[in-house]
Every structure is written in structure tokens, then in C-alpha cells.
Subunit: 374 residues, 5 copies
């Protein structure tokens, strides 16, 4: 099994019903970071109420919830932030297409985070992406993001490889502008990180395409074929992440909403540039991957040609020779008639026969040289 590339919706379930995902972390973790330009505070809380109490309009509170199976907690968040049940359903039913929605009070963003694991790498069990079965590689994670006045709320499935760690580090150290700006800028930085998470993945794919191409030209093996097939499938998967990210970013950019400042809009234009470049590269890679199959076919065809040439040359040279040897292996009785194989009794019969064979062999070789097969 190479993992599911669609989430199955059971037709007929009521919309807005919260069915928590199967794979769950042991316990939900809640991280809270509060900051303004001057102060900074970071804590882990057990109960969501403590986190909610920390929210103030004048500073930014970032609540990061890891683990999506606590229905109670989600319901509390829904009530506190006025989140529509359909949005909560989207948060929980992982496998959503990236998108954004907004109410008057908050903006809701769903994005995908791709991890490319090394072939042998093991981690906590995550939701496997399409290549997970073969080489344990491409993994996808859904990250949900709500931001409103004074707060940013993020919801992740798993705690490993937190993509936001560099951002948290910047908040801690006060570097960059994140401490001086509002929740929209923080949200932009998160969106930017999630968009950019495709860069290292694609770079690895670029190297992989080059490696496969080199190996193909060297020696086409069935394993490479299967790897090309995986590659194509995974690039389709990546495209299914990159395109909606672009739509999302351009949608946010154009959204007339007072939660997004003009300055943040400018930064989103930069994310948009990245999205376009990522799609561009994905398309280029897809065309290159298609070229690999052609390359495989032509290389195989080439090798077949070479094999056929060896067979043809060997057979064409020796078959006539063997025939001549066969002639003089016949047992016609020379005593019955002087017409019966008189050559056998010629003094130079054997050398003549060998010479004839040599001439035929040389002639064939010359013919093949002429055909440029040798």
C-alpha cells in the first residue's frame, strides 16, 4: 500500500459532525506564545482555558494545538472564536484541499506541509503520503490556522519536525519584524513557511531526476522504471499541494478584510512569487519525468539493438560455416560414383574448405563493417 491519495467522505454523514482522525498523539499539547514589541512569554498549558485567558487585543497570542482528537477542546475553541462547524470539520478531517475562508472576526487557512523522509528514516507514525509504502518517503501533514484580533491559532496533527520552530526562535530573540507587527504578519510568516516547505522537497526531487537520468543512460533496470513511476505519482501529489497554495495566497492578497494590513499584503505578494516559482518548477519536473519514461524506452530499445546485433553477427558468421562443415560431414559413398564427394579425397580438400570458411567469415565481417554494425 502506497497510502491514500484521497480522503474518503462517507456519503450521507451530516455536515459539521466532528469525526476525529484515527492516528492520534498520546495527548493533545497546547503551546502558547504571547508577545509584543517589548515583552515575550512562552508556556505550555494543559487546559485550553488558560491559553484563551492570555489573549489580549494589544499583543499577539499564538496558540499552537498539536493533536486533533480532543473533540471537547475543539468545541471550546469553536465557541470562543466563533468558528463555523464546517470549518472545524475541515480542521479535523485531514486531507482537505488547501483553502482560506473568512468571517467578520477571523480568517481561516488550511495548508499542507510536505516532509520528504530519507529511505530508511523512521519517525512517529504520520499520515503517509503516496510514496510512503515503497521507500518511506513523502509525507503530508495538514496545518490549520485561524487568526483574528490579537491571536493566531494553529492546529497541527503531530509534534515532530515543527516547521514553526525557526519562527518561534525569531520571536524569542526578537530578530526580524515579527515582534513589532500584528497577528496578520505572524500568520503571513507561517503561510510563507508552509509555502516554502516545498523548496527543499523539490530540490531533492531535482537531484533524484538527475540521478535517475544518469543511471538510465548507464543501465536501464526495472527498478528504475518503478522509481520513475513513483516519481511521477509523487510529483502529481506535490502539484496537488502547490496549486491550491497559490490560489490561497492570491486569494488572501485580494481579500478585502481589515484583519490584513496593506504591509502584510505586500509580503503576501512575495509568497505569491514563491508559489508561482514552485508551480513552475513542479511543472518542469513533471515534463522531465515524462521525458524519463521516453528515455527508458529509447535506452531499452538501444540495448535491444545492441543485443540483436551481437546475435545477428554471431549467427550470420557461423551459420554458413557450420553448413559447409555439415556438407563435408555427409557420408555419401565415394566408391559408388566419382561424383560422390570427390573433394574428400582431394589432396588440398581440407585446406581449401578451411580457406573457403575463412573467406566467408571475413566477407561477413566486412559486410557488417560496411553496415556500421561493428
Amino acid at each position: 500500500m502506497r497510502g491514500r491519495i484521497i480522503r474518503t467522505v462517507t456519503p450521507g454523514t451530516a455536515p459539521g459532525a466532528l469525526e476525529p482522525p484515527r492516528q492520534r498523539v498520546e495527548s493533545v499539547e497546547i503551546q502558547v506564545v504571547c508577545f509584543d514589541a517589548d515583552s515575550y512569554q512562552e508556556m505550555k498549558v494543559d487546559r485550553i482555558d488558560e491559553a484563551l485567558g492570555a489573549i489580549e487585543d494589544a499583543r499577539v497570542t499564538w496558540i499552537n494545538v498539536i493533536g486533533l482528537h480532543d473533540v471537547e477542546l475543539l468545541a471550546t475553541l469553536g465557541r470562543r472564536f466563533g468558528i463555523h462547524p464546517l470549518a472545524l470539520e475541515d480542521v479535523v478531517n485531514i486531507g482537505q484541499r488547501p483553502k482560506h475562508e473568512h468571517t467578520r472576526d477571523h480568517i481561516f487557512v488550511i495548508m499542507r506541509l510536505l516532509h520528504l523522509l530519507e529511505a530508511g528514516e523512521r519517525g512517529r507514525p504520520r499520515r503517509p503520503g503516496p510514496g510512503a509504502g515503497r521507500g518511506g518517503r513523502l509525507e503530508v501533514e495538514q496545518v490549520s490556522l485561524f487568526f483574528g484580533r490579537g491571536y493566531v491559532l494553529t492546529l497541527q496533527e503531530i509534534p515532530d519536525d515543527d516547521p514553526f520552530e525557526p519562527l518561534r526562535e525569531q520571536i524569542r530573540s526578537g530578530s526580524g519584524q515579527v515582534r513589532e507587527r500584528g497577528p496578520d504578519y505572524l500568520a503571513y510568516r507561517m503561510i510563507d513557511i508552509l509555502v516554502d516547505s516545498l523548496y527543499p522537497v523539490l530540490e531533492r526531487y531535482g537531484e533524484r531526476i538527475e540521478r535517475i537520468e544518469d543511471e538510465l543512460l548507464d543501465r536501464p533496470t526495472p527498478e528504475l522504471l518503478s522509481e520513475i513511476q513513483d516519481l511521477k505519482r509523487e510529483l502529481l501529489w506535490i502539484r496537488r499541494t502547490a496549486w491550491p497554495h497559490r490560489d490561497l495566497v492570491t486569494g488572501l492578497q485580494r481579500l478585502e478584510h481589515d484583519l490584513i494590513s496593506a504591509e502584510t499584503r505586500l509580503y503576501l505578494a512575495d509568497s505569491y512569487d514563491h508559489c508561482v516559482q514552485l508551480i513552475d518548477v513542479t511543472n518542469t519536473f513533471r515534463e522531465l519525468a515524462t521525458g524519463l519514461t521516453d528515455l527508458y524506452l529509447t535506452t531499452t530499445s538501444n540495448r535491444m539493438n545492441e543485443i540483436m546485433k551481437v546475435l545477428t553477427i554471431m549467427a550470420s558468421i557461423f551459420i554458413p560455416l557450420t553448413f559447409i562443415a555439415g556438407i563435408y560431414g555427409m557420408n555419401f559413398d565415394p566408391e559408388s560414383s566419382s561424383l560422390n564427394m570427390p573433394e574428400l579425397h582431394w589432396a588440398y580438400g581440407y585446406p581449401t574448405a578451411l580457406a573457403l570458411m575463412a573467406m566467408i567469415a571475413v566477407g561477413m565481417v566486412l559486410y557488417f563493417k560496411l553496415k556500421r554494425w561493428l
Copy 2:
């Protein structure tokens, strides 16, 4: 025969003429469900008038007609609800492209329901989809839906596998919001169910693609080729369902009509997300299916290569050896001349010949090792 993928319209028949479909259930079945937030009533009626009498503006009456061959009944419905003859023609002439139309008093929706039967599965005879002939699999059913003030009217071809059963169950139990809302929400739920009916179908196709790919890499057989061809045809068919569903849902969402409330419009946005995702997955599957043909070709090419290599190696090794054996099988008369095959009388003639053969054989094997064919 793999079933018809188009409905034939006899050119020249007058529009609006009702020609009931051939395959019919034994008798038309009429189910009526009436409900409001507080009360609930379910009945089967024999005559459509009983059903029509139950309609009241203040509650929702859902009339479900199973079987489309009773022209009289359809004409009655047409008169009662002011349905245009062209719309009734569309209801009866199954094989319509999914679409919606509206008058001032009702909205008319035609959708498709796909069933994917197991290879051996038999049911009542339905209209076969494109894969029906081979493995008895993909079946398509047309569902028509009218909704107006106080009523929803659905018309289905066959009674089996009623897709609306979970919905009916929710109405009975009062779970979800369906009891509290109007006919537009009920209609939305039905549309959502019909859209989502593609999810389990596509999931099965995903598994099928993976299975074919695994089998292909293991051993390409003509049966797989024929299965890939079926797969492609069926995905084209699914695409022809998914695309119009998206157009339909987005059309309803944008329709300025007082029969659709703002809240329902919001829910339709959710259905739209599903449609987009389904189209996305269908396209991905289509690209994967195209890749399967390439994979078949390259795998076959590979196997041919392997076969050719065995042939070439066998022939190339033994043909020269056989030639040498042939040489010393010649009957040149050693007594005629000392030039005639003196080797035959050498003390070490035979061992030398065998050694020569062994050297040639080893030489060829080394050559093939060098070429990496062994």
C-alpha cells in the same frame, strides 16, 4: 457490449415528448416523508394525489418516486408543480448531463449516482455503465430533484441501494440540522450525498491502479492490458460525471433565487470543495492510468530484452562450438594427403579440440560479463 456511453436522441422527435425508459421496476413506488422540527411522518402511498395532498408550506414534504415509466404520474407531477415539459423529458430520458434549471417556483437538478459493483456482484438489472460488460462493475443511475416551497421531489430509476437512506435515518432520529431547516437544506444534503457518492468509487479505483501497477511490474499480461483499457474508459466516464457536478454546484451557489437561503449557499461551498477535490483526484488517476500504458510498454520491452539476452547468450556461446565440432566431423580423407585433417590423428587432437571449445565458451561468457548482460 460494454454499455452505451451516450443516450441516442432520435433526431426529429418533438421536444417535450415523454418516452419512458425501457428498464422499469415492476411498479412505481412512492415514498413520502413529512417533517418539521417537532413532528415526523413517513408513509408509502399508492396514488400520487395522496402524496401531493400532504404538502404544506410550514413543513417539508419529501416525495420520492422510484420508477420512471408511469407517464400519467409524471404528467400529474408536471401539472401540480408547474414543471416544463422539457424538464420532464429530461427526467425520463435517462443519460442526461447533470445540470440545474429553475423557474420562479422551483429549482430542478439532475445528477448522476455511480455504483461500483464487485466483479461477481449481481443485483437487479440496472442501466449498465461502461465497464458493466467485462467485470460487471461501474453502474450509473440518474437522480432528478425538484424543490420548491415546502416540498422536495426526487425521482430515481431503481429502488436498490437507496443513497438517501442515511439521510432518511437522520430525519427519523432528528440528528443533525435537517429537521430544523427547510427544503433547500434537504436538497443540499441530497446533492452533497450524490456528489460524495464518487468518493468510495474513486477510492476503489485508486486501489485498482496500485494493484495493476504492482502486477505489471511483476508480470505484464494481456489481461492487464485489457484492464488498463477498461480503467481508462471508466475514468473518462467518471470525469464526465464529476465535471458537470462541479458546474452544477457552483451554478446553484451563484443562483440568485429566494428558494436558496444564505446558510445553504454556505453549505454548497463545502460541496463545491468536494467537487473540486474529486475532479482533482480523477485527473490524477487519469494521468496515472496513462502512465500504466507506458509502464506496460516499458516492462514488456524490458522482458523482451531479457529474453533476447538469453537467446543471444545461448546462441553466441554454442554456435561457434558447434561449428568446431562440425569441422572435425568432416570426412576429408586423411589418406589422400597429409594436409587433410591431420588433427584427427594427433595424440592430443580430441583434448585440444575440447580445450579450444572451453576457451571460446569462457571467452564469450567473459565478454557478456563485460557487457553486463550476465
Copy 3:
């Protein structure tokens, strides 16, 4: 020759010059049908003036001209109905792309009618379509249509298989609504008939694709290859009919012109649905036809594989055996030395050699079983 798929325009001829087509019926035939809700009259006239005299605003007069070579007649029609010379040129120069134009007084529509003849079927010589040369099949006819206040004027090339016969029958019998409505409805019915004329054609192509596919999987022959090529060419041709028909119908639907009533516009929406479905099916067929070439290649590849396997197995088994037989056919003189072929004089020499051969043969068979070639 498979027929021309373009009309050649001689560059430099003046626009509006009438060059009548070569293939002509013996004499131009003029059919006139006049009707209103209560009365009905049908006649054949010799002179166009009689037909023109019959036109009254209060009823519908349908003048059907069969044969386009009477320049005089066309000029008379042009003067009477105020037809622009460029439009008349389009009527006469068959091979136009379907389109519509309008003046204040009439609407002008050019459409195509496709006939799919049986392979052996002969009729009057028509303008051959692209498949005409091979199997005498696809034929195309241009039908021009003008309608204005009180009249519909149709111009056809040939009298056979009149597509409007069912319509004429309905006018005669007064069934349907055609008698109660105006010329725009009559024109719509004609357009609908011409659009729908593709249905039976496409249905036959659907059957043909399935037949070719079945035959391909059974046995790929060069004849099938040539048939697939024909199929592709003919589907390109059909597409070149279906697309402009859609543009035409949607154009008429949106045309703000008082010659088209709101009700007729509603019916045109129905024709539009048909057009979209026809294009849909044509595209599906084109993709299936492309798949057929792939199927051909892979099936051929498959058969080649099978042939190669038989060859390889035969050769690989017998070549070593023949070599061993060759060894013991050598004439080394056992009397010269005890090293020279002592096996020949062993008591069990022959049985041992046979046993060795049998072992090699069994070994090869097992090897091929292992490779799953047997």
C-alpha cells in the same frame, strides 16, 4: 483519395461572386409548406415566384430548395429577402464552417449534416467526407437556413435522406407544438434536428471503437491499424462539426433579436445541452481512439514477446543438445591415442550421452519455468 477536408478558396476571387458547386442534382426542387394552427398546405412548385407569393406574415411558409446550382434562383431569393451577397456566397460555396449571421430582417444559419453510410451502401453521389474513399462511410452535407417574419427558407445540396421529413410529418399531423408557433420555433426544430444528427453517427462510432478494441486484443492486424487511423481522422472531422454547432447555438441563444422569442430561446438551451454532450462524447471517443493506438502497440509488443519466447526456448534447449551430438560426431582417431574420444567405445557411451542431453533439456525447461516463460 479520401475526400477534401478543406474547401479551397482561389485567392484573388472577388467576394460575393457566386460560383455554384460542381455536384448538382438534375434540377432544382422547390418544396413549399404553409401552415398555421388551423390550416396546412404542401406543394411542389417549379418557379420560385410561386413559393414567394405564398408568404404571409400571419402564417409560416417554409420554402425548401434542394440543389444549389441555379444562380438565377439564388439571386431572386437574395433580392426578395435582402440577403447579403457574402451570405449567398456562403450558401453556394459548400464547406463553410457552421455559423450564424443576422440582419434586421432575417437570421441566417449554416449547419452541417453528417450521414454515416454502411460500407457497401451506395446512394446518389454526394460530397464525400473524409472516410468516403476507404469504406464509403462518412458524408457531410451543408444546410443553409434563413428565417424572418412569416417564412423559413432552407437550402440543401441533395434530396436524399431528407433530415426534415419527421418534422414535415409532424406539421402534417399537427402533433407537437410546431403548428402553433412561429418561424423561429420551426427554425429551432431544424437546428435541433441538425445538431441531433450527430447522435446516431456517434453511437455507431462508439460501437466501432468497441469492436476494434475487441479485435485488437484478439489479434492485431495491419487492417485494424488502418481502420484506427480512419477512425481518428473521422473523429477530427466530427469534432470540426460539433464545436461550431455549439458556438452557433449559444450565439443564437444570446442574440438579442426580436425574431427569436423567449420561449424559443428556452428550447435552444436544450439544443445547447445536446451540443455540449455531443462534444463531450466526441472528446471521449477521441481519447479512446488514441488509446487504441497505444493498445495496438502494446498488443503487438506482447505478441512479439510471445514469439520471441518460443524462439528462445526452442533454440536454448536444442542448441546445446545439437552441440553435444556434434561432439560425438567428430572423427578424431581413437587409435592414434587413448585420449581421442574414448567415450565412443565405452559400453554405456551412447546411453550416457542421451542421458546428458535429457538432463540439459530438463534443466533448461526448469529454468524457463522459473522465469515463468513456460
Copy 4:
């Protein structure tokens, strides 16, 4: 060399600098035609001033300049008609994409004229098109056209095969409407002629595609492969002419400029129809040409199959027979043991061996019949 398919612009040259083309006629030729509805005058002049002097607002003066290398003359024209230096640069730097531009006083149109020469045909040296190197066929010429109040100015590269000759003939004889209308109609007629110049070219390509297809099915040769490649390249070239012509015509049609009358706009709609049809046909041809490569591959594959079958059948029948002959050619000594080849001394030994061989041969033939290879 198959000709350049791009004009090289040396990066860094100043815009508007006139670099006359290399290939030049011996001397520039200036043809002047002046006409109104009643009078007509035609002359060849040596100095451009004479031509310019003939221009009057009340009639149409058509100045046709053949040869583009007289920088002086072009500068004079530029001053007289107020032509922007960039436009003059476009006139001289042949290889422009067809387009139109306008100032308040004139409209400037650049178009391409394609000639399809017979394989052996020689003419004056023109700028070769992409197929020129192989079979001397497709040639392209740039025609520039300025028209303003009272005049049309055309600039051509070479005097042969003047496309406007039929038009000039019509002006002379006063047939058609050209004498009664203004410069815009004359310009339209020229544009129409240049658009239509693709018709005879495409018709020849249609015949060529059919011929190649027939030859392919008969016998695929490497020459055909090279011809298909040429065909594809040339169709790409034709497309690169047809598309901009369409954009140009539709642009002129929509241009709000008092130099183009409403009537001429109507005629341009006719040219637009031609453009659309030409693009349509070009696309169809391109798809057919792509199909030809597939056809080549499959036909080759077919022939390989046939060849392999002959080889396999020959080898499979004779290899076992030869083996049996080899067996009884062995020299085991029957005197050493009664187990050593007793068959050789059986009375029916030889007939039995022959019968065995015959049975094997018949068996193989039957097997191949069963496989339908015979």
C-alpha cells in the same frame, strides 16, 4: 540547412535603424495604379516622387514597391506618410510576426505570403522557408501594407508570383466592387488574398498527408520518416503564420478608426471566418501528422513481428530435426556394446528417423497454426 525559422536580432542595435535585407532584387520597382469608379491609370515609375505626386484624396492610388533595399526611398516614404521609424524597421527586417499598427493618418499591416514550390521548381532566390533545404518547397515572403486617405502603399520583397495580379486584373476590368470603393476596401482585398494564400498550400499538405499514410501502410521506409519530420516542421511554420493572421484580422475588425468603413468591417468578418477555418485545418493536419509517427511505429512493429515469426517458425521447425540428425551422426562404437546406437543397425532405422522428423515438423506446423502464426 533548412532555412532559418527565426530572424536574429543583434541585441544592442538601436531601434529604428534601417538595415536593409541581404537578398535583393537588382533594382527597386515601383508600380502605381490610380483609379476611381470611372477612370483607371497604371504606370511604372522610376522615382518615388512621381508616384507620390499621383495621390489625390478623391481617388485611390496604389503604390506597390518591390525590393526593400533602397534606404533612401524608404526614408522618403516615411517622411511623406508620417511612418514611425520602428514601422519602417519592421518593413525592412523581414521575418516579422504578422501584426497591425495605426497612427491617426494611416494603418500599417504586416503579413506573410507562403508559396509551396514543386520539389524541382526553381525560381529567383527567395528567402527560404523551413522546408527549402530538403525538397525546395515552402517559401515565405513578407508583405507590408500602409493605407490612408486616398492611397494604399504595399512593399514586397520579390517580384515573382505577384499575389495581387488577379486583383489588378479586376481593377483593370472594373469587375467586382473594388473600383467603386475606397482604399480600405482595396486593403481588405489584399489582406483577404494574403489570408487565402494558405488555402492552396494547405490543400497540398492534405494530399501529402494522405500520400504518406498510404505509403506508410504499404511499406515504412526511413525516407518517409524524414518526410514526416519535415511535414511536422512545416506545419508548425504554417501555424506560426495562420495564428497571427487571425489576430490581425480580428484586431482590424475591432479597430475604431475612421479609415475603415462599416462595410469593410463586414468583409473583414468574412476574412476572419477564413482565418478560423485555416487554423482549424492546420490543427487537424498537425494531429494527423502526429498520428503518422504513431502509424510508422506501429507499422514497423508489425513488420518486425512478421519477420520474427518467419525466423521463429524456420528455427523452431528445423532445430529439433537437425538435432535428431546430429544424434545419428554420432560415432559411438556399436561394437563396444549393444547399447551403443543399436538404431543404426535396425532394418527400419533410417525410415523411422525420417518419419520421426516428419512428425516433429508437422507437429510444429500444427502448433503454429493453432497460434495463428501461419
Copy 5:
């Protein structure tokens, strides 16, 4: 390694942070050119302040900075010209998609300059393009351009092959219009040069495609396969340059900004024509390159056919002959029975056998002639 085709963005780095590129020139070079219609001054300065001091509104000052690693200098420029940190980041992080941005005071343009080096050509180490690893060929350089009132600021990575040298020469000599116009015209000239830099590159690709095609038809080698693959990759790369250049130019043309005069807008239309033509040619080349792979496959297929034919003919002729020779090499004892190989003792046994062989050989040759294999 064939070079990176994407710039990796480390997800999580703060936007606007300046990370200078690795490959750097030894020291940053600053060239200043000041001119107006009458005067001209050119100098190299060490400190950027000297350059900045030279700017006056009444004339044009062109500051050209070569080398991007001096963060201090860039910061100074940012402050002086009010450049947004994100723009400076784009200047430094080479590998940007070409684009333009504007503030009220300046317009910012990023473009790409492609160099196509000869296979053996070495220069200073630049950022390698996608083909750099194989044949040292395609190289890409990023050029940034700011222009505002009285100044144009350009930033390049490397000093070699300065594309602006011809422009500088024109400024020096006062030829063309550049001395008489403002900074927008100077910027247009630079954009035009960078757009046109693709012309010589594409022309070389055109020649390369023709060369590969000729070589392919002559003899398909694996090296050509690898070269076709390179070609495709490099054309993808060129397309990724040409498309954004077009968007950039059309964007500038439509930009309502008082820094761009109407006249310059007119010149940009000319650059736009070039962009469209370049994209056109790139697409044509891409289709031709795709055709090359097909050509390779078919040519290889062809050659395989030829090889198979030789093998089949040789084998089919000699295998039956060898069999006959084998027959008469059998040792059946004629003395045991008169049925045992009586032919051996016939007077004409040997000539008859030879004649039989000759007849079979001639028969096979005739058969192959009939099949047109000879």
C-alpha cells in the same frame, strides 16, 4: 551535477534578510555614466557615494554595480533610493523569476540574461545553467534594474560579456536617440537588450536541432539520446525565462506611472513583439525536440528491423540446408537393410543433395524478394 534549476529558500528565514550569493567577484565594481544631449561623462568609482553624488534631475546618471556581495553598499543604495528590503532581497537572492515592481519614486525590474557557451569555452565561474554540467553550455545571469528621476541603477553578478557594452558605445558616440531621452528610454533599451539576448541563443538551438535530426537519421547513438534529453531540459529552462519576460514587458507597458513616457511605451510594444516571437520560437523548438525522441524511437525501430531481416534471411536460408547436410551425415548402417540411407550409394546422390540445397536456397531468396525484404 547539471546545476540547480531552483533557488532553495530555507523555510523560516525572515523576509528582507540579505544573504549575499556565494559566487562573488573579487571586488565590487561601480561604473558611472552621466549624460545629457550635449555632454557625456564616464568613470569608475570606488565608493558608491561618489556615484550617488553625480545624480542630477536634468541629466541621466547610469550607475552599474557589478558584484552583489557588498551588503553595506546595497544597504546604502536602499536608503538613498528608498528601495524596499524585499526588493533588495530579490536583487541578492539570484534565481528570481523576472518581474517588475514599482514605488512612487522608482520602477524595479529583474530580468535574466542567458549565455550559450561553446562546449569547450571556459570563462570566469558563473552560476551554471541546467546544461552546464554536460557540455558547459547554457548559463544564466540575473540583472536587476532600478530607474527613477534622473538615474538608472543596474546590478549584475559578473563583469564578463557585459550585455550593455553596445549601448554604452552608443551613448559615447551619441548615435541613436539614447542621449536625447530620459532614464525610461535608457531602461527600455536595457530591457530590450536583455529580451533580445535570447535571439542568438535560440538560433544556436535551432541549428542544434537540425544537426541532431540529421545525425539521428544517419545513425542513432546513445550520445544523441542524451543530447536530446539535455536539449529538452534547456528549452524548458529557456521557456522559464521567455514567459516571465513577456509578462514583465506587457506589465510595464500597461503600468500607469509617470516615470514611463508615452513614447517609451511605444517602444516597449516593440519589445513585446520580440517576446511573443521568442516564446513562439521556443514552443516550436520544444515541439521539434519532442519530435526528435519519436524520431529516435522510430529510427532505432527501423534499424532493428533491418538487423532482424539480415538474421532471419541468413538463418532461414542456412538452417534447412544444414539440416539436409545433417541427414546425410547420419551413420545408419546401409548394410543392415536396403532401406537404410540408400541415397548414400546412389551414383548421383551427392550432386542431387547439392542441387536440392541450391533449390531450397533459391526458393528462400525468392520468397524474401516477394516479401520485399531483399
